[in-house]
Amino acid sequence: MDATTNCVLPRYRVVRDEAACTGCAQCVRSCANGVHRLRKDSDRIVINSRACVNCQRCVVFCPELALTIQPWPQVGTGSSTWTAEAMADIAKQAQTGGVLLSSMGTPAPYPIYWDHLLLNASQVTNPSIDPLREPMETRVFLGSRPEILKVNERAGQVVEPLPPQLKLDVPIMFSAMSFGSISLNAQKALALAAAELGTFFNVGEGGMHRDLEPFADHAFAQVASGRFGVDAHYLNTAAAIEIKIGQGAKPGIGGHLPGEKINSEVSRTRMIPEGSDAISPAPHHDIYSIEDLRQLIFSIKEATGYRKPVAVKIAAVHNAAAIASGMARTGADIIVVDGFRGGTGAAPKRIRDAVGIPVELALAAIDQRLRDEGIRSTVSLVASGSIRNSADVVRAIALGADACSIGSAALIAMGCHQCRDCSSGRCNWGIATQRAALTERLHPEAAAERVVNLVRAWTAEIQEMMGGMGINAVDSLRGNRLMLRGVGLNEKELDILGVKYAGE
């Protein structure tokens, strides 16, 4: 064995049911990782399990259901400390000397507080409402507001106009995913879905491709530390601007899109040379303090004539509540808090798996802090990072969010199977890749339809749950923590979440 010997065992074993396989080679065409190969001298298909990332594309598209992906059947050492994964990580680093790179949200078994929060329903003392037949409002506006509205009651007019607001027909948006980290087709699908649903997608930090400009009324433009693609036109084209301070999956570090993903289209959109690494600094180099955030917020407001709401996104970290309070005071119209289980195209594994806190706790703490300071009603609050289903949305809103953003869930609707190999650029589903042969597998219209279906289904479920609580407007769910009860939580967790225990 020498320094370069690969001691890492395969993670998966791909099994072909030879009796069922007709040799159609659909799997060979499916796999960009080279797991399935036609032997030169015969029509047999051979399998290289080591290359498999478990994206399940071949399984889904095998017309004969002849393929199965199993865990690599190696018995463990019996140690709870030196698990197969722990040892594989060490072996990789011993071999390469590299920082472990990972993708998507952490798979580590941290507590998921959503699953410890149960929802209420009306019985006897007040009625539940049937959303199929009675009005059930899911519309939400995002933006900052005055504490007191100045009106002329006789004229029925507002005396001082409101700051710019975004109208969401559903309290669900799509998280920032840049062109570069995902394909243009994936971005188009989100844009189409956002327009259809009356909500917003977020172009991420990589600029806005010209093909997305027709959907700009439903777009957040992101301004991150690298300022890729940021100019006055970009800022003024979008409906709103989001300053990205941090991302739940990788708080405290910048971004790094490798040069091989910077093809001509990505290059043009990011406004950097083709093939060059796109490096986002860890901090914004004009924000070293809270008052500097105010400077950037207002530089954007000046550049957009105060016509666009400015959101600021932070990763959920230990001091999130105080930070969010400061953000509200800097002039941020929308505070976005992204939990540590949120997804990413690429992040150092140790950062993804060890830095940050769950969004549930951060959200609850932020909402309460803003209320303690009497400023919650003047700013909007969006939660993201591991929203898995409609009940999570309801829980987040009851904890205090105005709306949620979904990233991974929307990608899963498009076909993503959470193999967590985005950083390789070989996404067989055409999502996290820039290879033309792969991106063309994702049809924007079809993918958009699946995303629209998902959000419509969630909305129907949200309406059912709200109706069950006797609530017919999402306004009355927001921050309504009495609609939640905890199970399996300790006193401290209940205290931070601001909920009673089930049975109380």
């Binding site: 920082v99 006055a232 040379p273 093939g275 690494d277 490096i279 004009d286 400077q295 000046e302």
Partner: protein, 258 residues
């Protein structure tokens, strides 16, 4: 606040067509009102003179081509942010983040600038007569025909050209530490070459070559023209000039294990 006043000369107010010049006195006006006044003046005139600038931020924000500002006093941070082809000349010092994310145009500073001048700029030129603070030219980038440039007549603080992904920095004085750290594109021209131990990993320092002469000469000439009579000329003999460039556009290609 109503500290800002706009004055137009008699013939300017009488004219129907866009007038050639207007003047705005800012005094202690808050930036929001100050910028409104400046924009109002720019709507009437292509060239506006700003007097008594006092810390007002964002002056010349996204100023388009064909418009110009002459600024007297001390403007605030983010002067010329998102500058979009306009021309800004400051007769005094600039504060921090001059030309932040500027896209095109020209900023000339008859004095020094603070930290992070030219942050993320992707086009246009910033000429600084004297010194600059830390992290000037940080994350400058270039794209197709757009190639931004910063010329600094004096000394530079540390981290000049950090993360630089494109464009040109010309430094006539002495640099601070960590010059060009993380640089993966563009070029830094130095009148005083670095000792070998001060060259950051992944960077190459070499004497300027024939191919550099037109670019460098043009920038030095621009400096000399802008600051004629104020600062000793930089142009002429290029023999001591060196260039610093990245060895790779992929400085961190080997950092990760998948």
């Amino acid at each position: 606040m109503t500290d800002a006043t706009v004055t137009l000369s008699a013939e300017e107010t009488a004219a129907e067509a866009p007038t050639p010049a207007a003047e705005v006195t800012l005094g202690l006006a808050h930036f929001k009102e100050a910028n409104e006044q400046v924009r109002a003046a720019l709507a009437r005139a292509d060239a506006v003179t700003i007097r008594e600038a006092n810390a007002q931020r964002y002056l010349g924000c996204a100023l388009p081509a064909g418009k110009s500002l002459d600024i007297f006093g001390t403007p605030g941070n983010d002067l010329g942010c998102y500058l979009d082809g306009g021309r800004i000349e400051v007769f005094g010092n600039g504060q921090d983040q001059v030309g932040n994310t500027m896209n095109n145009g020209a900023i000339t500073i008859h004095g020094r600038v603070g930290d992070a001048a030219g942050y993320a700029m992707r086009g246009g030129t910033i000429l600084v007569r004297d010194d600059c603070g830390w992290r000037a030219g940080i994350h400058m980038k270039e794209y197709e025909a757009k190639r931004p440039a910063i010329v600094i007549g004096g000394d530079a603080g540390a981290f000049l050209g950090e993360y630089m992904a494109g464009g040109i920095i010309v430094l006539a004085g002495t640099p601070g530490d960590y010059l060009g750290t993380g640089m993966h594109g563009g070029v830094i021209y130095l009148r005083h070459p670095l000792s070998t131990d001060r060259i950051m990993d992944g960077l190459i320092q070499e004497p300027v070559g024939e191919e550099d002469v037109p670019t460098l000469t043009a920038l030095l000439d621009a400096y000399d023209e802008a600051f004629a009579g104020e600062s000793p000329p930089l142009g002429g003999d290029l023999s001591s000039w060196h260039r610093l460039r990245p060895a790779s556009a992929r400085p961190y290609g080997g950092l990760y294990a998948h």
